[in-house]
Symmetry: C2
Amino acid sequence: MDSPRSPGRPRSSVDAEIFAATLRTVHELGYTRATVDRIASAAGVAKTTIYRRWPSKGELIAACLSDAVGPLPASTGDPREAMATAIRWGAAKIGQPGIGAAFAGVFTDAVSDAALREVLVTQFQDPYRIALQDILGLPEKRVLFIVDVVIGTLLHRMGISGEPMVDDDVDTLIDLLGPLVA
Amino acid sequence: MDSPRSPGRPRSSVDAEIFAATLRTVHELGYTRATVDRIASAAGVAKTTIYRRWPSKGELIAACLSDAVGPLPASTGDPREAMATAIRWGAAKIGQPGIGAAFAGVFTDAVSDAALREVLVTQFQDPYRIALQDILGLPEKRVLFIVDVVIGTLLHRMGISGEPMVDDDVDTLIDLLGPLVA
DNA sequence: CGGTATCGATACCAGCGGTAGCGAAATGTG
DNA sequence: CACATTTCGCTACCGCTGGTATCGATACCG
């Protein structure tokens, strides 16, 4: 199942360093100024190595985010509490250095790039939506709406103010969405 | 008050054509591929003419959006109905061709550009927030939160699906935010 | 050993946002 | 009319960016 065939020199295991350098660079310089050249040199790696592993800057950032955010943690059976936990978890993730900016950047790249948009949907939208559907027991459209509200609100606040949402506003958001799972 | 002094050749009144060409180009090609060169040639104008009127691509798009969206229309005195009207108005505006994509693009440019971010805040955030505060009679922080939820949700849906929100979801959003003005 | 694939390095390309400099065309003023 | 002033379109240019091509060197497998 794992590596049935591998002729030739194996890939050096520097994915973690590349991901770390990506987040660090985006955090320091913002999405646009975090060029692939800079990310590569921050990771101690040649630019060609990055392009051998990911086909574009957008997909590199998406993979980096996927690695950094990880799957939705398991939660209690109570739907309302589960949604509150999920929202708090998402707000904390987006607030981590570099993640919010990277997300906003790759998101807006995706508006003009159908291929990247599909990567985003299959790599983020679908897994979290399915996990939430499982936990909350709601139809797909309703869960998609909740995702739009939560992620959209968090990203908008992050982009405008440069700071993640305060706990107080996250609580307000949770209270607001409560009726949708009742 | 108007043009007290004007030596030299006056500016040709092509702002409207430039704005129209900008929206059209963004709608057809997306924010990134809507280059200033293309916008200029679509408007029948030299690129230098555009840069003589706006200092950057981001500020051109912001001015174009400001012109296209316009001020929040007056509304009834009932806060709840006023908010519903405002949300529906915003959803309709963001759904118009080019506007949603332009907004998402300039928004994410602003994440990496403090100057553009300030233009965005003073040109959009402040006026609509103040108008809403006036109508809804709520404190600034609460109105800012509402703006984050509404604009964030609309832009996220627009960016992911490429289509504006359906009326059904807009109604759900309105119902959701109802408690905040009660 | 040979075959294969990755490595860093370098050079390169097209396209982008933005600027400089040109002569020509409009204006108001004397 | 001449003149100063400003904008016009045009062309050329700059630095940077995402992305590609090519190279010899290196690491693995059989």
